[in-house]
């Protein structure tokens, strides 16, 4: 499959709703694996990495799950193409910076993506819409089991799967979910929530992983420990915590609707006005307003169908996606203009938010 074909198909998770997808955008699971008798990518010479890739790439391409896949060496991709893959969460920022002997393989609907010679020889990822950590893990587990028939994975009875960094030892598994938590942010409970998650061995990060800002009220929550628990136990624990977080988020929203309905109306209304009429808009401003429109969907002020448009926009307005659609390099100023254009045309059919549910309740209060 060519890169242009990959681009034309938005990732499956953007188009199909999953369980709890009002609050959980995606569930992702990744497994780290290494081959025996080869140095890890960070310590390997260029020639070693090339040999490792020659061993891994055909094994991946032969999998039935990866039929008609997109498979490429990192050196064959332009900087913007690599950035597009980062913006779609298909490769890491670190992998985008990699050179010779590194590659990436992904299936057509972008539910499975594999990085070759990132920090480990193999980093395989499955992504699903909504809260579906277990199904994401199951699909990856099958791929892992098929691969181990041909690839000799480095494994130790005590330490489990051997990884370049000891923080990934054991299962080599990182499970994470992307949550939309505007209620907890607006009610200022988010810091407490993050600290609480940290205390029980979970990490909370921004939109693009480690060290990134929490834009659009989106947070990634993932397991820290990989050694000493079974894969299913790690996922079950994370699942339980996320279910609780969903509950907290819903309560925060209900409480805000009760205590300060006008404040929410104002936020959603402003977001609508800006997105609908702006001609210059930064990524950050756009993302934060899109978050409010999404909240409007959840609360019934904005038609449910808009959720998909918002999901697609979250990715389409990122810098590399804009430059791909313009077919040329754009300065930041040019990007802000194109971004506003794309948002206006995408939201063309969007009518003003309907706050009648809140207004009726307010009338009731007056009586």
């Amino acid at each position: 499959m060519r890169f242009s074909t990959l681009l034309k198909n938005p990732a499956e998770w953007m188009r199909t709703p999953g369980p709890q997808s009002d609050i959980v955008i995606t569930s992702r699971v990744r497994l780290a694996r290494n081959l025996t008798s080869h140095p890890f990518p960070g310590w390997a010479r260029k020639e070693d990495r090339a040999i490792i890739m020659e061993e891994i790439r055909p094994a991946l391409e032969d999998l039935t799950e990866m039929k008609d896949s997109f498979s490429e060496e990192m050196t064959k991709l332009s900087a913007i193409e690599k950035q597009v893959l980062v913006e779609r969460h298909l490769i890491s920022r670190e992998h985008a910076a990699k050179g010779p002997g590194c590659g990436t393989v992904m299936n057509r609907n972008q539910t499975i993506s594999v990085m070759i010679n990132e920090e480990d020889h193999l980093r395989m990822q499955a992504i699903r819409p909504g809260l579906q950590l277990n199904s994401a893990y199951q699909s990856l587990d099958r791929i892992d089991s098929s691969l181990e028939e041909t690839l000799p994975f480095a494994f130790d009875h005590k330490y489990g799967y051997l990884t370049a960094c000891p923080t990934n030892l054991g299962t080599g598994m990182r499970a994470s979910a992307m949550l939309h938590l505007p209620g907890l942010v607006l009610s200022e409970q988010i810091n407490q929530t993050i600290q609480g998650a940290n205390k029980i061995g979970l990490a909370v990060r921004g939109l693009y992983g480690e060290g990134t800002e929490a834009l659009a009220n989106l947070f990634q929550i993932s397991n820290q420990n990989t050694l000493g628990s079974k894969e299913e136990e790690i996922i079950e624990h994370l699942d339980r915590v996320i279910t609780q977080l969903i509950e907290n988020e819903k309560n925060a929203r209900l409480k805000m609707l009760e205590d300060k309905p006008t404040a929410i109306q104002d936020q959603v209304g402003r977001a609508y006005a800006v997105l609908k009429f702006a001609h210059i808009i930064s990524s950050k401003e756009a993302l934060n307003h899109l978050s409010m429109i999404r909240l409007g969907c959840d609360l019934g002020f904005v038609p449910e169908e808009e959720r998909e448009t918002i999901n697609v926009l979250l990715t389409e307005i990122q810098p590399a996606h804009l430059q791909i659609s313009a077919k040329r390099k754009l300065s930041p100023d040019e990007r802000d203009i194109l971004r506003a254009d794309i948002i206006r045309s995408s939201l063309n059919g969007l009518t003003a938010p309907d706050f009648s549910t809140i207004l009726t309740e307010r009338d009731d209060d007056d009586e």
Partner: protein
Amino acid sequence: MNCDVCQTEKATVFFSQMAEGKLQKVNLCKGCADEKGVTDPTGFALADMLEGMGEESTPEATFAPDELICDSCGFSQTDFKKTGRFGCADCYHVFDEGFEGLLEAMHKHTQHTGKSPASFPDLPSAPESIDPDAPMKASPLDELSELKQSLSKSVEDEDYEEAARLRDAISQLESQIGDS
């Protein structure tokens, strides 16, 4: 909390690093952090800095002529200190000493309980008990049928001494199989 180096300014940079198989932490103020080059992680080793402060570390750690090196990939303990990552899978056995303590700081437990490749027996047996050079040991049943074949051959050959020995061996093996 004050800076560990100057002890006067408020610490704003918190640095952790694995060194000597232990997790070490240093709290620094902005000035000392810049001076020590903490902002450049490749050129900074926490252990070296602690030594510079003249405490918490022994002088012989600054240079190690007998430093452990992984035979398979040439990775050294210093490399691990610098990067926090290993060079290859074999490094885990080479740098085993003190590693457990480091793992305890990172993970809940230090014994893997999750998935294992199908080619690895699913037993929690110690890896060192398996000698890859030892010949494959036949199962008792295979051994038994082999013995029986030899027995009939020795009877045919009229080697009754050997036949008696084999008969005893067979009955011993049969009782063993019956017990298990």
